[in-house]
């Protein structure tokens, strides 16, 4: 059974690994830059800038996302049932009770964010409260609390740092090729190969990075589904919540590309998506696959 401790530890280890990979990539790219231009200072500035931005957004993620989603805080008095559901599941998971917010939207959906369990936030839309019964609501909240307990915010933030850095580096590289093209003739012949490698890397790296980030996001969704189901010991409720939410056609205007991965279900409804290419670019696994995974679960 999942709790505050189990996945947190492995996630933190993986985050350090990601950071290590990230640092090696920075050093490697820095070396290539030095070879080609003899001066990596702009790159270093870009790296520091992107790390700073990402850490800021990680630290203030709760406030930023809540502002973006127009979420209103609720207390025990004005949303008693929701409050009790969240509080009781938090006790079962061994987490402090997160702050609870309601988003005034008809589309049923929910998300959790916050840098650590002490600053965690769970937000649900009014549509979710209207359409789901108590056990389905418990399923959704358990899924969100699993994200909090598993420290998924930490993992996804580090992934975003990595992608952000890769995009900046490749962008910078391509631009400098365009503007500083003449300089490479002064150097020796080795630069030609390095340059080709650099171009290939600059084009591929951000794409591969984005795919990796999305793959991580989908994996975390599966994990949160199964941890959440183990928390309530009732996967059927989560299955029926998933069915209700995915069959609901109401759009969610407060969601956008930067927050899409946070929601309980993909907030963009664009019909059935089955091609493998499309799947690669999804923030959430297809609902059918999530349901199939939950049905195969032995609780």
């Amino acid at each position: 059974m999942p709790n505050l401790y189990t996945n947190k530890e492995s996630n933190i280890h993986k985050t350090w690994l990601l950071f290590a990979v990230f640092l090696m990539a920075v050093i490697g790219i820095g070396w290539v830059f030095t070879q080609i231009y003899g001066n990596p200072s702009i790159l270093i500035f870009a790296v520091i800038f992107s790390i700073g931005m990402s850490i800021t957004s990680y630290w203030f993620s709760d406030q930023i996302v809540l502002r973006m989603a127009n979420a209103e805080p609720v207390s025990r008095e004005n949303a008693r049932e929701l409050y009790n559901v969240v509080e009781n599941l938090a006790i079962t998971a061994g987490l402090p009770t997160p702050k609870i917010y309601i988003i005034n939207e008809a589309a049923p959906n929910a998300f959790a964010t916050g840098r650590d369990p002490q600053h965690a936030v769970v937000a649900v839309t009014t549509g979710l409260l209207e359409r789901l019964d108590r056990s389905e609501l418990e399923g959704v909240i358990a899924h969100e609390l699993s994200h909090v307990g598993n420290r998924d915010m930490l993992v996804s933030t580090v992934a975003v740092v990595l992608i952000g850095f890769l995009s900046i580096a490749s962008n910078f590289f391509m631009r400098s090729l365009w503007w500083g093209g003449g300089r490479r003739d002064d150097r020796n012949g080795d630069n030609g190969i390095l340059l080709l490698i650099g171009i290939a890397f600059a084009i591929l790296a951000p794409i591969v990075g984005t795919l990796m980030q999305l793959a991580i996001s989908r994996k975390r969704e599966f994990l949160a589904d199964s941890s959440g189901a183990l928390l309530t010991r009732y996967p059927d409720a989560l299955i029926s919540a998933l069915e209700k939410i995915s069959s609901d056609p109401t759009p969610l205007p407060v969601a956008n590309n930067t927050t899409a991965h946070l929601w309980f279900e993909d907030p963009f409804k664009d019909g059935p998506r089955t091609s493998w290419l499309h799947k690669l670019f999804m923030t959430h696994p297809p609902v059918e696959e999530r349901i199939a995974a939950l049905k195969g679960l032995k609780v």
Partner: protein, 185 residues
């Protein structure tokens, strides 16, 4: 010379492993301990709610003095039972049962069911009941982690030589305790 270094190296690894395994067991045991005291918090909340409930019900249920007395008695018994929540589990489930009887009997008093204060307390107690269950389940998870570590190879050697004992789970002994107090609106 090389053999000596290999032996010394292997010994150092072994010692480090013993330290890590021992510390891991201590950490798991402390988590289970903490989870147990979290149950106490919820049980105390129930003790605190009961006098108010009895007070608000007294006027309406003059003919059911026995039911009210049972609740009060069970509360006192649970509070005086002493020990951790696991040790007074019997007294606590006795208390749950008397509360259940009280709420069942209250169905016969329409005036009482119109009383906002009573309804509020009833809801609070139902929620507390859920929270007690939730904290027990968290404790059980922690105990499962600890017991698995104590019983599996190779940490079982460390556990037995330092006296770590497998701990008991909370089990719902009687069938009607599986269900929380029903609330009707």
């Amino acid at each position: 010379m090389t053999t000596l270094y290999i032996v010394l190296g292997a010994l150092a690894v072994l010692v480090l492993w013993v330290i890590a395994a021992y510390n891991g067991l201590v950490r798991l045991r402390n988590r289970a301990q903490e989870a147990l005291s979290d149950i106490d918090v919820q049980l105390k909340r129930r003790y605190d709610l009961i006098p108010n409930l009895v007070e608000s019900v007294k006027g309406y249920m003059a003919h059911e003095r026995g039911v009210l007395e049972n609740v009060t008695k069970a509360r006192t018994a649970a509070m005086q039972a002493g020990g951790d929540p696991l040790q007074r589990d019997k007294a606590e489930s006795q208390l749950s049962n008397t509360l259940k009887t009280l709420f069942a009997v209250s169905e016969n008093y329409p005036d009482l069911k119109a009383n906002a204060n009573f309804l509020d307390l009833q809801r609070e107690l139902a929620d507390t009941e859920n929270k007690i269950q939730a904290s027990r389940r968290f404790y059980n998870t922690m105990v499962m982690d600890l017991n698995t570590r104590i019983q599996t190879f190779p940490t079982n050697f460390i556990a037995s030589s330092f006296g770590f004992a497998a701990q008991k789970f909370f089990e719902t002994t009687n069938a009607n305790e599986r269900e929380a107090v029903k609330v009707q609106f």
